[in-house]
């Protein structure tokens, strides 16, 4: 019947189209392979010797900066003979060089009046100067989270391996913790300047500037 013939005709055409699509897809896939193969899967060497990570050692916590020559224990002056004055006041006779720019703090909120060579936490427990970071982390909660994980603070050495972890006071002055402005290193040369220096290097005479109009 004519209907059947038409049906077969359609079927054949559909089959033909399917093969064309499949064939096209195959050619496309082959093309992709031919594009990628010369460079390897990720463009890397196949014969890199296999390297794996050894277990990582614990980070080394730096104790703090070396005491400078003019450092001496607080108790050398603040001994039994010196009476503790807990009154909050400006230090006019001694320690006038220390300006506290750190919240609303003054000396005895961090320094212990009972044991002059240690610091005192809010709960009145004493900590050594070498562990001053315990002092800082009482208030600075975000740092308490970020410093141990390495997000805050400076580390040097190895991303995998021995590393030195700096405590707060190695970067921040506890009396005025905000970083001081510093002199930047020189800006990059502008492209014009680079071109002229290249010209000089290859001994091409620079264009002379004439005063005449």
């Amino acid at each position: 019947m004519a209907d059947t013939e038409d049906g077969e005709g359609i079927e054949k055409r559909v089959q033909g189209a399917t093969w064309t699509v499949l064939g096209g897809a195959l050619v496309f896939v082959l093309m992709l392979f031919s594009l990628q193969c010369p460079h390897g899967e990720d463009g890397s060497r196949a014969d890199y010797p296999k390297r794996t990570l050894p277990p990582e050692p614990e980070p080394v916590l730096l104790a703090g900066p070396e005491p400078s020559d003019d450092y001496f224990p607080c108790s050398d002056c603040h001994d039994e003979t010196m009476k503790v004055d807990p009154e909050r006041r400006a230090m006019e006779e001694d320690h006038e060089d220390i300006e506290v720019v750190h919240g609303d703090l003054w000396c005895l909120q961090c320094h212990s009046a009972e044991d002059r060579d240690s610091l005192q936490l809010a709960d009145r427990t004493h900590v050594a100067f070498g562990e001053s970071w315990k002092m800082c982390l009482q208030c600075h909660g975000q740092r308490r989270q970020d410093w141990p994980t390495g997000i805050h603070g400076k580390r040097t050495g190895h991303w995998w391996g021995p590393k030195e972890v700096r405590t707060c006071i190695e970067c921040h002055d506890p009396h005025a913790p905000r970083f001081k402005a510093i002199e930047p290193l020189p800006p990059p040369r502008r492209p014009e300047a680079i071109l002229s220096s290249t010209a000089a290097a290859s001994s091409v005479p620079a264009q002379e500037v004439s005063d005449e109009p």
Binding site: H39, G43, R45, T156, G157, P187, S197
Partner: protein, 311 residues
């Protein structure tokens, strides 16, 4: 390199005969024209026809490294080591930079120059520190607004924000896709590297890079011998020649030995973070997990592995 030399690494028959043929042909041509003798120019066949980094056999590679170490040691009168240390299994590198900390001091820029043997004159610097108006940057970063030439007596300058930019080591890197010679590609540890021997200086990669991270040697680089860092990697900080492109390699010569990049160690405010993206405990993963991070020109879908964050 004499093929009859018993100490010479063994070549396959094809390689040996091809090299021998080339050497003979070039020597013959030089003798005919008198080029070699007249100019005193040494023509290094090995260097000229050296296989692509990715095609070299282990023996070929060792020989190339040895030749380069010898060449650079002589040139700079220093004991230069050139390595081709490979990637580490299970490591993909990522970088983080805390823009709330950066003060724009450019210490990273010059640490990078020293570590990576950049040309001093003409000046090449892989890191560019851009200065932005704080007001403006809060409404979105447009790199065009950044000024790399700021010259203040002290930084940070009031109401400014600083954004150091170098190679972003994109996971879908436009630069490697346009290279006609396959001289630049991404390594399995995510570092985008350049084989300086195969770079033909067409600068397509520079046009393709949306971050301006690639630098071109318009003239013969000038690197004083006393400033040379002798710890070199074939795909990183070995000296470049005129007419090739270079860029940040995450300090490949350091990080593949487990060390931090030089810029990170130079940063006085600890704004720079580095580590293994595949290790959930690494500094970079910790900051990705807990901080608000962004990448530059995210809309281009280059998928940088350099993340900026607000600490």
């Amino acid at each position: 390199m004499n093929p009859d030399d018993p100490d010479a690494p063994k070549l396959d028959a094809k390689g040996a005969s091809r090299r021998k043929f080339l050497r003979t042909a070039v020597a013959g041509a030089a003798a005919l024209t008198g080029v070699g003798a007249a100019t005193g120019m040494e023509f290094d066949v090995e260097a000229m026809f050296q296989g692509h980094f990715r095609e070299l056999s282990r023996e070929d590679l060792d020989r190339v490294l040895e030749r380069l170490a010898k060449k650079y040691s002589a040139r700079y009168a220093k004991d230069v080591k050139v390595s081709a240390t490979g990637p580490i299994d299970g490591v993909v590198f990522g970088y983080g930079l805390d823009i709330s900390r950066c003060i724009g001091c450019r210490k990273c820029v010059y640490a990078c120059v020293d570590e990576n043997n950049q040309s001093r004159d003409p000046q090449i610097q892989w890191i560019r520190v851009l200065e932005f108006e704080r007001e403006k940057v809060m409404r979105g970063i447009n790199l065009e607004d950044g000024n790399p030439y700021y010259d203040h007596e002290e930084v940070p300058a009031p109401d400014k924000v600083y954004l150091p930019v170098a190679c972003q080591h994109c996971d879908d890197s436009p630069c490697t896709q346009v290279c006609p010679t396959g001289a630049t590609w991404m390594e399995p540890d995510g570092i985008v590297v350049i084989d300086y021997d195969w770079c033909i200086g067409c600068r397509y990669c520079m046009a393709a890079c949306p971050y301006g991270a690639r630098k071109f040697n318009w003239a013969e680089p000038n690197l004083p011998a006393e400033d040379v860092n002798p710890n070199m990697h074939l795909l990183g900080n070995r000296p470049r020649g005129k007419g090739v492109v270079e860029k940040c390699s995450f300090c490949i010569q350091r990080v593949r030995d487990g060390r931090y990049p030089a810029c990170l160690e130079a940063c006085p405010v600890g704004a720079r973070k580095f580590g293994n993206l595949l290790d959930p405990k690494s500094e970079i993963r910790q900051l990705l997990a807990t901080k608000r991070t962004f990448v530059l020109k995210a809309e281009l879908e280059t998928h940088p592995k350099f993340f900026y964050f607000w600490g």
